[in-house]
Amino acid sequence: MFQPGGQLDDLRQGVRDWCASRVPEDWRDRQRGVTHAELVEFLRWWGGELRDAGLLAPHWPREWGGGFSIAEQVAIAEELARGDVPRNALFHVATFNVAPTLVHHATPEQLDRFLPGIRRGEVWCQGFSEPDAGSDLASLQTRAVRDGDQYVVTGQKVWTSWAREADWCMLLARTDPSASKHKGISCIIVDMRSPGIEVRPIKQVWGPADFNEVFFDEVVVPADHLVGDENNGWRVAQGTLAAERAVAILEMAERLRVNGIEAAVADVAAWRLEDGRPALDDDAVREQLAESYAQVHVLRHLLNSMIDGIIRGDDVGGTSSIIKVFYSEILLDLMRRLTDLQGVRGQLDAPVLACAGWETGFWMNDYLHAFGWLIGGGTNEIQRNVIGERLLGLPR
């Protein structure tokens, strides 16, 4: 078990050695084209490995098994990326989204109740978006009606990642239909095994179906599953999650820097242009790849400056939107360039690798996958509104 508070270099070396000893060298080959059930089984195994090593949630408070400083979290994220480990996709919502929200807003009893489960490997999903409440999330219509010591939940959620596997859902529901739209929402924890819940998978453009529609039909939830105050759910969900988001993106950015761009160049080195010349002999190709290389490095500088801001205690809310837009758009750009360069060969179908970063070498599919980053977690258009309003003080 890795522990916080030691020498940073020792931690780095330790994680590096651990990656070398625990990650099967052929995991990428073995995971290409697997079924959803096989993918979930693999991700459960990988989450368990991280948990046993103490690396599942280094950002958590110390009393809950975390306590690593930001610098230590950065070192761990870097080493995991360099170790080219599988992405901890199945437990990401629980460890990076739900747990920090609970730590900020839940009661001590609720923490005792739910955090140990997350550490044991329970899967969580987030019930936020609805068919008629996407970018305008605050107009959500799923209702939670108080009835004595319980809520009765009815409505529909959509784009819910890992809902079929989830033990719990952190749900946003309307508890006061008469209040203005941001004010009548509450955050409630729902047991996904409750009667009245139906989950239907949604297949995504790049193949996998890790997200779902979730239907709630008079689902009964104990009232003590309310997180924060009733009708304060909007603020709870907005949460102060910037630090967690920064470190989570840092791992992705580092994957792109140390594996992605290198893999891309190595791949292109084997390609020929239509006139038979090696692709890397072409100035335009070299310039494009170098531009992406530079962008990936600038992204890292941007993340470093945000992390410095977090350590200083600055408000980095607007900056996290900048980083989300920057990362997703340079990613899409690189994937598009590679797809274009590959020509018609890039259009051949191939088995999908669902649990790597966003750069698996099946570039056309990685290109499709990358759109998810521009849309998910608040579309880039919404992020630009946030940047304009929060950072620049422009009117709504």
């Binding site: 530079a294 962008q295 400056s305 900048i322 940047i387 950072l391 422009l394």
Partner: protein, 391 residues
Amino acid sequence: MSLSIEERAELRSTARSVLARASSPEQVRAVTAGDGPGYDPGLWRQVVDLGWTAIPVDERHGGAGCGWADLAIVLHELGRALACSPFLASAVLATSAIQQADDGDLARSLLPALAAGELVGTVALAATDGSCDAACSTTTWRADGDGLVLDGAAGYVPDADLADLIVVTAVDAAGATAVVALARDAPGVRVERTPTVDATRRLFTVSFGGVVAGRERLLREPGAASAELAERVRSVGVVAASCDAAGAAERALERTAEYARERQQFGTPIGAFQAVKHHCADMAIAVEASRAATGAAAEALDGDPADWARVAAITSSYVGPACSQACALGLLVHGGIGFTWEHDAHLYLKRVKLDEVLFGTPSWHRRRLADAVFPALGASGGERTSRIRQT
């Protein structure tokens, strides 16, 4: 020793308030008007008095002994203020060239005067056609007795008429680079201003007609060592120009956001419209990323010089184009008034467009970056590199 975080914040705030008083857009316009001097001697004296020219110079040569990361703060603020001064030429280019000299006597004799602002220097790096590649230099040198003789001309030399010292890069018939510290008033040196679209900068063609220099004026042995020095000075120039661009774009962003908050159309501030808001957000993304990139690049200049070229290429590839695009959006958001000479939007755009290409185009830097960081290219990569050298 580098400044602490608190000292850097103080330097930034001092610089900002000094320049707000000494280099306002109105003052910049007065200085750069047709009959004006093109730079502000008063501002230059103030900059010297504040000790900014001494920042990167070693204490044993009368400097403050701080680093490039500290100087980057001043460069950023000078860009914000569109400052018209020989700071880039003297405190950055000439100073870094002399610092890299192998000849200790040159450093001992020149650095204290550069640090104290008693001597103004500049560097002639580019060919008359603008090429920044040392091999393409249009200045030639040949050995002559104990010294050497320079002929030809260099282009795009900043503030050459103010300079007492011009550091010149030249090639001989065999293609060997020499870097020579010349007095501007040496016989045969002629400077001629080449007016630029960005009126806040002053560039010159410097020609050399049989200029004689003693061997003691060589910064390093001619050949690879001198080519390396020229390369390093260019890298410092790229980072410095990028700091300037980031500062100018930052100010353009502030002024644009202010306009978008106040200007009303259709009965509402235009910043409420997403088409305008998103332009502003794109400016903010470019500025934030450029600030992070230039900060990191300046830190890297305080590290291993072997990495400077790569750092400069990354910086050039991103910062120039991003800041230009930010200033272009700033002009657009202002609409009709932004298209007028009277409004300042064009001053920022022109400044960063020059910053973007002054030490080589982003596209040239990208190709060089590819040569440097895509090493495992096999035979074709090797041939590719040699083909560049031949042309």
